[in-house]
Amino acid sequence: MDNFSMDLFEKATREDRNAERIRRPSIKYWPDVWRRLKQNKLAMTGLVIIISMIIMSIVGTKINGFSYYEQDYSLINMHPDKIHWFGTDELGRDLFTRVWFGARYSLLIGVLATLIDFTIGVLYGGIAGMARRNIDATMMRIAEIIYSIPYLLVVILLSVVFSSGGTGTSMLVLILAMSLTSWVPMSILVRGQVLQLKESEYALAAESLGASKGWILRKHIIPNTLGPILVNVTLSIPRAIFAEATLSFLGLGLQAPKSSLGTLANDGLAGMAVGNAYQIIIPAIFISLIMFAFNVLGDGLRDALDPRLRK
């Protein structure tokens, strides 16, 4: 012990004490997803379009001072000009206002239908995934049968039944009809995830600590399936909007004077025949923009959520 003199030692400085501190902030999952999504220019374009569409569908109807139902027979079929920015339709209604009013309903239908899909899908899939094997198998068989019923045919049938006056369909019926079969992909996705995550170590740990099935589902499994569900949600909104537009185009859409982008396009088809192509082109552009925006955002999210693609 005597051979160690004190001058062999150095006093620890303040910097040395910090040596083991992690300098860079650790990147958590969701901020990392957002960081990678931000790098995807196409997806960000989609996000910007969606946000501006939502804002415009709320305030856009008030910008140029016309209402969506106001008819002016002295100004029918006006091509776009300084007063009517998108022109007027065959009843002299201002198309600019009507397009945003229609976008409001299209978006609302898309979001509400997806919300129902989401709720039923997560519940059904979650229960099937957590249930015993034979219950799970039966539930999935039923889901498969429902899913192989052609989607739009069911929606068309239901719209026929509930709009028997021939005056158009109410929004509620449209949404319910669309949700009738479209919750199935969501439930299959959730079930698959649940089955996979149920076997994971942390679920086992929670179970051995005495957690109930419901607790494990709520606290461990659902938060971890959120990513794929989010992608599915983003991609099912444009699907509902597309279905609604197609229905409107077949004359089974919303009741006038309410309008969606689909009913506007359907009205515009008649206008095109007499040389007023803008009446269909303008709503068509907005339908396509919405479809484009949600689809690229969904694709971008899928890439951003995939940890294998992380750089």
């Binding site: 068989r141 026929v160 039944v161 028997s164 185009f249 192509a277 269909i280 479809m291 689809n295």
Partner: protein, 309 residues
């Protein structure tokens, strides 16, 4: 293998039965009377009409009669047309729709995968960007918009391509293209990602190092494996084409089954709505079954295990 096919067959039959039952219940729960639009009619005429369509019997009996007739291949009488039965209309309309559908499918399945494969081979070069642009247009522009755009900008300028009607081959080109765009875009995207995955596999490297020509590696090894996911989505594509055909036939005025269906909705011809819905479902379910069977034969991995090599 046999067990699997049998299971699929039973599932298909159950599905079909479910569709028939749902359709029947829905169409018979429409409030009001199907002849209301004909104006006021004497009570005797009304009673006779009820009797002719069997509407005077109890619902369960009607259902059993309908099922029995379906088994015989009889879809019943149309409520609006005095000359044609639903079967006549299907016989007249379906070949037209099928022609259009097959043409659209051929366009989509030749151009789509080719475009996707090129995009993967020339990743981040112009073929890739071209296929990306087409894919984006394909998924964001609904077919009814594509149809009207084609009429407005193509048919109106090129007199050889008519804006509507049916009869000659040139009548089919624009509607088939409008119908094909969505599946084309979808298969191109699918082919691109699956091709990229296959190209990164070891057996491609092996094939290249064996000195096989580039074309043979791409065609025999890469494309053959990359095309499998496309076969598996064929069912969905056909189902989309079917629904797309309602809209396209309406726009171009093509006398197919889709147009009959749309007209039957507008005129509330319940027997025709029911008949076409069920007919469409049969076609679709048979297609899905065929695709599933085809898939088990095409995928070499499944075939190899079957033969026990």
């Amino acid at each position: 293998m046999k067990k699997y096919l049998l299971k699929r067959l039973i599932m298909s039959v159950i599905t079909l039965w479910a569709i028939i039952t749902i359709t029947f219940i829905l169409m018979h729960s429409v409030p009001g009377n199907p002849f209301a639009k004909e104006g006021k009619m004497p009570a005797v005429v009304y009673e006779n009409l009820q009797k002719k369509y069997g509407l005077d019997k109890p619902k369960t009996e009607q259902y059993i009669i309908y099922l029995k007739n379906l088994l015989k291949g009889d879809f019943g009488d149309s409520m609006k047309s005095r000359v044609e039965t639903v079967n006549d209309m299907i016989k007249r309309g379906f070949p037209v729709s099928a022609y259009l559908g097959v043409e659209a499918l051929l366009i989509a399945l030749t151009i789509g995968p080719a475009l996707g494969a090129l995009a993967a081979l020339y990743q981040n070069k112009w073929p890739d960007y071209l296929s990306m642009i087409i894919a984006i247009i394909g998924i964001s522009v609904p077919s009814f918009i594509m149809g009207t755009v084609l009429i407005q900008f193509v048919a109106k300028n090129i007199s050889w391509l008519p804006i509507g009607g049916w009869g000659e081959f040139r009548h089919t080109l624009l509607p088939a293209f409008a119908l094909a765009l969505m599946p084309l875009a979808y298969t191109a995207r699918l082919m691109r990602s699956s091709m990229l995955e296959v190209l990164g596999q070891d057996y491609i490297k092996t094939a290249k190092s064996k000195g096989i020509s580039k074309a043979a590696v791409i065609l025999k090894h890469a494309v053959r494996n990359a095309i499998l996911p496309i076969v598996s989505v064929l069912g969905t594509l056909i189902s989309n084409l079917l629904v797309g055909s309602f809209v396209i036939e309406k726009i171009f005025g093509i006398p197919g089954l889709g147009l009959f269906f749309v007209k039957s909705i507008v005129s509330r011809d319940y027997t025709l709505i029911m008949g076409t819905t069920i007919f469409y479902s049969i076609i679709l379910i048979v297609m899905l079954l065929l695709v599933d069977i085809a898939y088990t034969f095409i995928d070499p991995r499944i075939r190899l295990t079957k033969e026990g090599r």
